[in-house]
């Protein structure tokens, strides 16, 4: 079976500094992978490179998505092909109403895949359903994208988009940052509702706490730009006790 995502020996530079020094990771459909590691280990860089953020130079290795060269695709093509990055810090876009943004984005993806655009009633019905399940009030959808949203609301808006776009691969970058325990639970429930045999998730987190709510199949520890240890969900608990220091020394 072909892997959904295959990162092979990936080397990435930002300006003159190499951040990833040969990172490899294989993710199959239906799996949930957690990537843990100390600050500066390259976790967010990996998520940005997969999503296509400008400013990163890939100097070696490759990233295959359904066997295709992901790095050759523009960011919007990656999204249309099923890659979704839930941002650690979702941006505020004043003047662009959330509803208008959601419709424009969804239809752009569908158009790129050669699918017909959603009709307005179907679209509204779908947004309302998902918004309700995530406890997102309708007036939030009328406001500018993320404008004046609390940290929890911004994260819920990311999950709303994830549910709407139905991506094959979800990358959650530090979803727990800035969330209190209640907000975290709502967000995690939203993510869990999207787990399916057709979809894979990569959950990037500094803390084990999030993994009590989103239980991974695999845990990888990153340090200094590489995966230094992989294991099952118990690895996260182990880290909670022993910390990252052992890996930083080993790397």
């Amino acid at each position: 079976m072909m892997a959904l995502l295959e990162v092979k020996d990936l080397q990435v530079r930002v300006e003159d500094r190499e951040i990833l020094h040969g990172l490899s990771l294989t993710v199959n459909k239906g799996e949930v992978h957690a990537i843990m590691g100390p600050n500066g280990s390259g976790k967010s860089t990996l998520s940005h490179v997969i999503a296509g953020k400008p400013g990163y130079e890939v100097t070696g290795g490759q990233v295959l998505f359904n066997g295709e060269d992901l790095l050759a695709m523009a960011p919007d093509a990656r999204a249309a092909n099923g890659v979704f990055l839930a941002f650690q810090y979702p941006v505020e876009i004043p003047g662009v109403a959330t509803m208008n943004f959601l419709r424009t984005a969804l239809n752009a993806q569908r158009k790129a895949r050669g699918e017909s655009e959603y009709s307005t009633p179907d679209f509204l019905k779908k947004v309302r359903e998902v918004a309700k399940s995530l406890n997102i009030p309708q007036d939030m959808l009328r406001r500018g994208v993320n404008v004046g949203f609390s940290g929890g609301e911004k994260k819920r808006n990311e999950i709303l988009q994830m549910a709407l776009f139905e991506p094959a691969l979800c990358i959650l970058d530090e979803m727990d940052s800035g969330l209190d325990i209640d907000a975290l639970r709502i967000a995690a429930d939203g993510v869990n509702a999207l787990r399916s045999a057709d979809r894979a998730m990569v959950v990037i987190t500094h803390y084990q706490r999030l993994l009590n709510y989103i239980i991974p199949d695999f845990v990888h520890v990153m340090s200094k730009g590489r995966v230094v240890k992989s294991g099952g969900k118990e690895l996260a608990l182990e880290l909670e006790e022993s910390g990252y220091a052992q890996f930083e020394d080993a790397a």
Binding site: P54, A79, F87, I93, G95, A105, A108
Partner: protein, 434 residues
């Protein structure tokens, strides 16, 4: 120094343009004399150039090259083409007054609604009313307009009238290599409520024409005027509008101007606050690409105390286009408690795009609140990436952000149909760019 020798080719051409057109211009006797005097005033001043402060960034000697001969009176074919252009230029549910190539065309226009009186400039000039050919404020292009104006509309809205429908004055150009001179006067009576639209469009096939328009507008005491101007001339056209606005007491005046067409466009306005307790909101948008040059120059003169003025300008400049915004707020010595602010922001979409912002405050009173701000910059990369990561192709992502940027100025338009018309005009510009 021999002044005649200092004249440019352009100015000699203008002289012959006037000489040739004279016989065709409406009005005789004192009116013809007023035109001759206006033309003399223009000749003395010459075409505005960069050495004249108000025209520093829009040097007509360099940008206009030549003044084209007066456009012929539109024939049946021209009127048919103009009619086709009205399909997209017309605002929903508006009463239309249509001028084609500088001539009022009754068969394309609607009958005036109750409370509005409409005459044409031609009728008034032929009737000997020379007061309409004023050359104040002193400016060469206003003088040239007085000399050459062929027609326009004279609209007066009765005191207390509340117009149910917007009144739209549509200028359609069908010509190439010809110039159009129009002059209109709008009088909004005391306590009247009016929505006014002025649209400038080109018929299919119109090319490098020149438009010189003058507007004299007054807002009566306690009146409420919402005024939208859409300058969407042909890509090769040059358009200069000079406008004077007088605002009475306790009045509310909202003015919105958008420039999205034309090789060279300038909207220059002087708003005088003549009565206390009035509120002025001026919003403007320049959407420029290619080698377009768009200039919005506005002076707000607080001649009396206790008035508020707000100005919001947005310029979107692509390719090698050039946007100019000059805004001046004058507060006269006794105009205490004036509250005047302007904010201008330019979005530069290419390395070669240029935006000149020149805000000025001239404050002679001591108990006022006045301020201005100006910014220029590129689209925010982090916002662009967020949109692209959600599936929007680059141009679409940019378009969404540009719409939001200009939306801040467009939102000020109270009438739903007009706000939509302005948004559609902006979208057309964005689609042409993609």
């Amino acid at each position: 120094m021999n002044v005649a020798l200092a004249k440019t080719e352009t100015e000699r051409a203008v002289n012959s343009v006037f000489a040739v057109a004279r016989e065709r211009l409406p009005g005789s006797g004192k009116v013809a004399e007023a035109r001759r005097q206006a033309f003399d005033a223009f000749e003395r001043a010459g075409l505005p150039n960069r050495r004249i402060e108000e025209w520093k960034y829009t040097d007509l000697r360099a940008l206009m090259r030549e003044v084209l001969p007066l456009a012929p009176t539109p024939d049946a074919a021209a009127i048919k083409r103009a009619r086709a252009a009205l399909k997209t230029a017309g605002v929903k549910r508006a009463t239309r007054l249509v001028l084609v190539d500088g001539v009022f065309v009754p068969q394309l226009s609607d009958a005036a609604d109750a409370g509005i009186n409409v005459k044409t400039l031609r009728e008034a000039l032929e009737g000997g009313d020379r007061s309409l050919l004023t050359t104040e404020p002193s400016d060469a292009m206003i003088a040239l307009n007085a000399a050459m104006a062929t027609d326009g509309v004279l609209v007066s809205v009765a005191d207390g009238a509340s117009l149910a429908k917007p009144l739209q004055i549509i200028h359609v150009a069908t010509v190439s290599k010809a110039s159009v001179f129009t002059r209109s006067r709008i009088e909004v009576g005391n306590g009247a409520r009016v929505t006014l639209v002025e649209s400038f469009v080109a018929a299919d096939g119109a090319g490098a024409y020149q438009t010189n328009d003058a507007v004299i507008l007054s807002v009566g005491d306690g009146a409420d005027l919402s005024h939208v101007r859409l300058m969407a001339d042909s890509a090769d056209a040059a358009h200069i509008t000079s406008a004077v606005f007088a605002v009475g007491a306790r009045a509310k005046y909202n003015l919105f101007n958008m420039t999205s067409g034309g090789a060279l466009s300038r909207f220059s306005g002087l708003v005088t606050m003549n009565g206390e307790g009035s509120e002025l909101n001026v919003n403007g948008v320049n959407l420029l690409k290619g080698t377009q040059h768009g200039d919005t120059t506005l002076v707000v003169d607080h001649a009396v105390p206790n008035c508020t003025s707000r100005e919001i300008f947005r310029a979107v400049v692509d390719d090698r286009a050039h946007s100019v915004f000059q805004g001046r707020i004058i507060v006269r010595p006794h105009a205490q408690k004036t509250d005047g602010k302007m904010m201008t922001r330019a979005l530069l979409l290419s390395d070669e795009a240029e935006a000149d912002n020149k805000p000025e405050l001239e404050i002679f009173a001591d108990d006022v609140t006045c301020g201005h701000g100006a910014t220029a910059g590129a689209l925010d990369e982090s916002l662009l990436f967020y949109l692209r990561a959600r599936g929007l192709p680059e141009k679409e992502a940019q378009a969404l952000l540009i719409q939001a940027f200009v939306g801040e100025a467009i939102e000020g338009i109270a009438n739903d149909d007009l706000r939509e018309a302005a948004m559609i005009a902006a979208q057309r510009w964005l689609e042409a760019r993609a």
